[in-house]
Amino acid sequence: MDDPQRANLLCLEQLVARQLPQGGWPFHSRAAQAAVEPTALTLLALPSTLIRERERAIRFLLQIQNPNGSWPAFVGDGGGGSGFTGLALYVLCRCGVGGKSTDRAIRWLLHSRGWESHWLWKWKFRTTDRRVRFDPDKFGWPWMPKTVSWVVPTSYSLLALKNCIPGSQEGLLQLRIRRGVEMLYDRICPQGGWNAGNGVVYGRPLAPHPDATAIALLALGGEPVNDFVTASLDWLERHAQFCFAPWSLAWTTLALNAFRRASQHLISRLAVIVASDEIDDCATLAVVSMALTCANGLNAFGVHS
């Protein structure tokens, strides 16, 4: 079976079967602990015809939202907020959910920031800690409060802030989007693409990661295409030639497709992978499903440069 549509149906069947009673999805198929990332990605992957599953997932996300507007990483996690808040907010906005919940989430995102933006850490990174080279004035979002900005939570947050409708604080929202975009360009790897955070440590360039690169590119959708974006897309294309890991391959497909680069051959490869081996990780299965949908001209991230 290498038909993308049939492969996607198989993915969706498995995802529906793995939905937990409370409406969320776990990472591992055998686990019973729902987590935000697999739930949000699955919600984005489910077609609008699966009304009941989508409604249960939305209800679940709204139920576990922290009082401060952020989302925990998983059920039982503390209330401080996680780097998946941007993803949860983005997905809810894409599902047409608005109101107090999303307003609170936007407010939380606008005030959450990497610690390099604090004057004390700015001073540290400018004077004593020169092992990692970056501009602390260009900051994004951390994985956890009181840590520095990283590429994936920044990209998820940018996707959310660019796609939601703010109730107020439009000026701050535009400022945070601009800072976040600047942070991504500041931390880019010398050859293009993104690692987890910095592109250079101890004077040595770090290798990009395909998933971080793809998610960053999706977050940069709508920005003017520049040399950074082109180099990153070129790197993704080169890396994809030999990539058979479904999570990275699926994110790569979504990004290349969003930027109108050739992706059909990657979709076919994903269909073969789905047919040959069961994907245990629900987040991966959801991203693969979204990538397979690109065969129909649909891109769940809906960005076109």
Partner: protein, 334 residues
């Protein structure tokens, strides 16, 4: 001859920082004592990864008379990322050989688990490093510790002040945890050995990629808290080809042609440090760990294999950690 003073500056700063941190960590802050009277260590020769590693390991493990029957074993290799030609990960052939050995010893289950620190796509690291093929051939199950079910565990030491950590269920329910580090230098902790390898059990799904909160709390402090809370029952350290210089990712391969086995992580790490030409007493987490997690003194170790010999040239380190080199090294060389 006029010397260039510049290289001394980072070294001196590193020495001062190391001394300050060591002093801070000298105060006991643990609620458990895992150190036993004596520890057992075996240094085994292995010329390359193409040797019969299973046979070498089997003979090595026999020296310890381990009772593994009906126990669930979790092997925790060091899988960081994959860069062709870089020896940054525990070699898949060594992991496969260990899995087979523990099966032969009667283990109920053998599981391999890891939660890479930077790379979110564990499947990609498994594929590209060749680990996936080896595990598939051996029919060994792998668990991604970054995305496992999580349980909140009170910490059994209080060096970070974190009080508790969310940890993967798979590691908490295992009867016998084997830390399988790649022997290498580390630009933020000096060395990355069996204790630092346990950073990989801290789940990215909660703490992010990398597990940045542990860096902010202090790497040495975090190592102590994690190792107090998640007992390491055995160590199989991959020093066949080690790494020196700017580890853990960008160092230089350094063949040592050794595998180090130990029933104590502190003893394993102290022995590996000596094999690297470093003084374990200057490595903060080894020195502090020797108070409660194991033995770092050679006098408290039974050497079941080869004797410990420092290399002719000690391992290269980033300037901040050059002070870790054994001080009597030059004397011994002359």
């Amino acid at each position: 001859m006029k010397g260039d003073r510049r290289p001394f500056l980072p070294g001196s700063l590193g020495l001062a920082a190391g001394a300050a941190t060591t002093a801070l960590l000298a105060r006991p802050q643990y609620h458990v004592i895992r150190r036993r009277e004596r520890s057992r260590v075996a240094i085994l020769s292995a010329g390359s990864y193409s040797e019969n590693l299973e046979r070498i390991l089997r003979h090595g493990l026999e020296l310890f008379h381990l009772d593994i029957r009906d126990k669930s074993v979790l092997l925790k290799p060091n899988l960081v990322d994959y860069t062709p030609g870089n020896h940054i990960n525990t070699h898949p052939l060594l992991v496969a050989a260990a899995a087979e050995c523990f099966r032969r010893l009667g283990a109920k289950t053998v599981l391999v688990g890891e939660g890479p620190g930077h790379q979110r796509d564990t499947g990609l690291v498994l594929c590209e490093s060749g680990m996936a093929d080896q595990l598939h051939q051996q029919k060994v199950r792998f668990v991604d510790l970054n995305r496992d079910e999580l349980v909140e565990k009170p910490l059994l030491a209080n060096y970070t002040g974190m009080k508790s950590l969310w940890l993967p269920r798979s590691i908490l329910v295992s009867d016998f945890v084997v830390s399988m580090p790649k022997v290498k230098t580390h630009h933020w902790s000096g060395v990355s050995l069996s204790m630092k390898n346990m950073f990989g059990v801290v789940p990215g799904a909660k703490y992010g990629w990398p597990k940045n909160i542990l860096h902010w709390k202090g790497i040495d402090r975090s190592i102590l808290d994690i190792c107090a809370t998640v007992p390491v029952h055995f160590v199989i350290a991959d020093a066949i080809v080690a790494m020196e210089g700017n580890g853990p990712l960008n160092g230089t391969p350094r063949p040592l042609n050794r595998i180090v086995l130990a029933d104590d992580p502190v003893a394993a790490d102290a022995t590996c440090a000596r094999l690297m030409g470093l003084d374990p007493e200057k490595i903060t987490h080894i020195r502090a760990g020797a108070q409660f997690l194991g033995n770092s003194s050679i006098a408290l170790m039974d050497q079941l294999g080869e004797p410990v010999r420092a290399p002719v040239t000690p391992f290269q380190l980033v300037p901040e950690f050059e002070y870790l080199r054994e001080t009597n090294f030059l004397q011994r060389k002359s």
